[in-house]
C-alpha cells in the first residue's frame, strides 16, 4: 500500500496532479448541475403561476 502511494518516488507530483484534476472536474460538474436544477425549478414555478 505504501509502495502504491509512493509512486516510485514521484507521489509528491502525481497525487497533487490527480487531486487538482479531480477538484476541477468536480467543481465544474457541481456548478453546472446546480444552475441547471435551479433553472428547471424556476421555470416550473413560473409555469404554475402563469395564466395559460
Amino acid at each position: 500500500m505504501e509502495h502504491f502511494f509512493a509512486m516510485g518516488g514521484y507521489g509528491a507530483y502525481i497525487w497533487p496532479a490527480y487531486g487538482a484534476s479531480f477538484l476541477g472536474l468536480a467543481a465544474m460538474i457541481w456548478s453546472s448541475l446546480r444552475s441547471y436544477s435551479r433553472a428547471k425549478r424556476q421555470l416550473r414555478e413560473l409555469e404554475c403561476e402563469a395564466p395559460s
Binding site: 484534476s21 465544474m28 441547471y36
Partner: protein
C-alpha cells in the same frame, strides 16, 4: 431558418439549432453521454493505476500524461468550438450559437487551468522546473487569459446582443493563439515534447489505452456539461420571456 441556410444544405443543423428541438434531442442524449463519461474515465483510471507499468524513462510520472494531455486537448477543442459557434452567431445571427459559445467558455477555462497545473507538476520532476517561458507553455497560458477575457467581456456588457458580438470577435481573434499552441513545438525549440499522439509508434500501446480512454472521457464530459449549460440558458430565457409576458398581462 434562413433561405441561404437551406440552399447550403444546413437544414438539419438549423433544425437542431431550434431550441425546442435542441431540448428534445439533447434530453435523450444526456444519460448516454453521462454513462460514456463514467465508463471511459473509470476504465482509464483503472488501467492508469493498476495495469500500466512505469515508463522506462519517466517512471510513474507517465501517469500524469493521462490527465494532462486530455485536459489540454479538450481546452483547445473547446476554444475552437467557441470560435465556430461565434462565427455562426455573427454571420447567421442565431441566438443559440451565441449561447453555445458563451456556455463553453467556463468549461474551457477549467480544462486549460488543469492542463497548466498538471503540466507544471509533470515538468518539475522531468525537466527540473515547474515553468519555462517557452512558446508552448506561454501560448497555453495566453489561452487561459483569452478564456478569462472572453468570460469577462460577456459579463461586462449588459446588452446581450452587443455582448455576444464583442465576445465573438475576441473569440475569433484568439484563434491565432490556438494555432500557435498547436505548432509551437515545431516552430520553436522547447522543453515540451513534440506531437506524438497522431504519430504511430510514438507511444507504446500499453500507454495508449488509458490515454485514449481518458481523452474520450474528458471529451464526453465536456460535451455533457456543455449541453447541460446550454439547456440551462434556454430554460432561463424561457423563464425571462414568461416573466415579461406575465408583466404585460
Amino acid at each position: 431558418m434562413s433561405e441561404r441556410g437551406q440552399s447550403l444544405g444546413w437544414t438539419t443543423l438549423f433544425e437542431f439549432a431550434n431550441p425546442k428541438r435542441f431540448m428534445d434531442v439533447t434530453g435523450a442524449i444526456i444519460p448516454w453521454l453521462a454513462a460514456l463519461t463514467a465508463i471511459t474515465i473509470g476504465a482509464g483510471l483503472y488501467l492508469a493505476f493498476f495495469v500500466v507499468p512505469p515508463d522506462y524513462q519517466q517512471g510513474d510520472t507517465v501517469k500524469i500524461m493521462f490527465i494532462h494531455v486530455p485536459a489540454a486537448i479538450v481546452a483547445m477543442m473547446a476554444y475552437v468550438a467557441i470560435a465556430v459557434a461565434s462565427l455562426f452567431g455573427l454571420v447567421n445571427r442565431h441566438p443559440l450559437a451565441d449561447v453555445a459559445a458563451k456556455t463553453a467558455a467556463p468549461l474551457g477555462a477549467v480544462f486549460t487551468a488543469l492542463a497548466l497545473i498538471t503540466g507544471s507538476l509533470w515538468g518539475r520532476p522531468m525537466w527540473g522546473t515547474y515553468w519555462v517561458w517557452d512558446a508552448r507553455l506561454t501560448s497555453f497560458l495566453i489561452l487561459l487569459f483569452l478564456y478569462l477575457g472572453y468570460i469577462a467581456l460577456w459579463n461586462a456588457i449588459e446588452d446581450e446582443v452587443r455582448a455576444a458580438r464583442a465576445a465573438a470577435i475576441l473569440a475569433l481573434v484568439g484563434v491565432v493563439d490556438v494555432v500557435i499552441v498547436k505548432y509551437s513545438v515545431e516552430w520553436w525549440s522547447t522543453l515540451h515534447q513534440g506531437e506524438s499522439i497522431m504519430r504511430p509508434g510514438a507511444i507504446a500501446p500499453i500507454f495508449e489505452w488509458p490515454l485514449f480512454l481518458m481523452m474520450g472521457g474528458y471529451g464526453a464530459l465536456f460535451f455533457l456539461l456543455w449541453i447541460i449549460r446550454i439547456r440551462t440558458e434556454i430554460l432561463e430565457r424561457r423563464a425571462r420571456a414568461l416573466l415579461r409576458r406575465m408583466g404585460e398581462v
